[in-house]
Symmetry: C2
Subunit: 144 residues, 2 copies
DNA sequence: AAAATAAAAGACAAATTAATCCTTTATTGT
DNA sequence: ACAATAAAGGATTAATTTGTCTTTTATTTT
């Protein structure tokens, strides 16, 4: 469904969101440990996400990654996926046709449209704030 | 969503189903041409599908690929996806966790379950026969 | 039997994705 | 000012996926 990059990215951002929710900054070491991901690779991903204003970062001692209160409420999962995997999941054809739409559909087009719409809506409506607050209530996991 | 292998495989099988529906066998050259896919690569994919009884093949002159009447009605898209991409789309975690289930869920588990269930049902309920007959009515495309 | 046809099989090659390593830059505390 | 800390950046390697090429096997027609 998503690339490894996107999977690690989502997990990392969710973890940062959780910590940011209680005003904590987290280092790349702490993140990689919390989500059980390759550290250097995760660092690269976070570079992309900071460039795209999904997360913020501060260098040096007491530095680390965090997400400001406003972003916590405005950033949805769809924004993260867009940065890391582009919009292929939403727009791309299930059978890999370059152009596939209502006018010129592949045999599965109308069946896929529905499923993708659901996915899109779910990603667009799920904010980091929702996850960060929800995760305090139930027991959720970011690693095995 | 699917690998290239699976995309080509689905398109190839749908094309073969269409031709088989009017009792025609098709060569790998005809298939690659009809779905605009790399021929040798598509040949490899069809090898896998014949081994797994999704399609049948006959060597030599007047040979080619086809799907018998019974398979046309019993084979669903889910069977093809299972052979080529495995069951990761159904069972795999959206965030890439190795084990993620109702008991030990990732933060998005319950949101993903629904979407994946829809996809699963769609793939399982769509048979080659349905596609082969439906494609005669409407204008559908297998290449650009 | 020989030639032609078409899929099967195996060995490579190219491209993309995933992952690591090393150096540089920014910031802080002593 | 200096040492320590932590992210940013660049170059490289590893693994996987995608794709090609050549040979072999099976079947049919002449």
């Amino acid at each position: 469904m998503f690339s490894k990059t996107c999977e690690y990215g989502l997990r990392a951002v969710i973890f940062i969101a959780l910590e940011s929710n209680v005003d904590k900054k987290v280092s790349i070491t702490a993140i990689a440990d919390a989500i059980e991901s390759p550290q250097a690779f995760t660092a690269k991903i976070l570079q992309q996400l900071t460039k795209n204003k999904i997360v913020q970062s501060i260098k040096g001692p007491n530095g680390g990654f965090f997400i400001d209160d406003k972003s916590l409420k405005t950033v949805a999962l769809s924004n993260i996926v867009a940065v890391l995997d582009g919009d292929a999941i939403y727009t791309g054809c299930g059978l890999g046709l370059h152009q596939c739409n209502d006018k010129k559909p592949c045999p599965l087009h109308f069946k896929f449209v529905e499923i993708r719409e659901n996915l899109k809506k779910m990603l667009e409506s799920t904010t980091l704030f929702e996850l960060a607050t929800d995760m305090n209530l139930k027991e959720y996991f970011l690693k095995n």
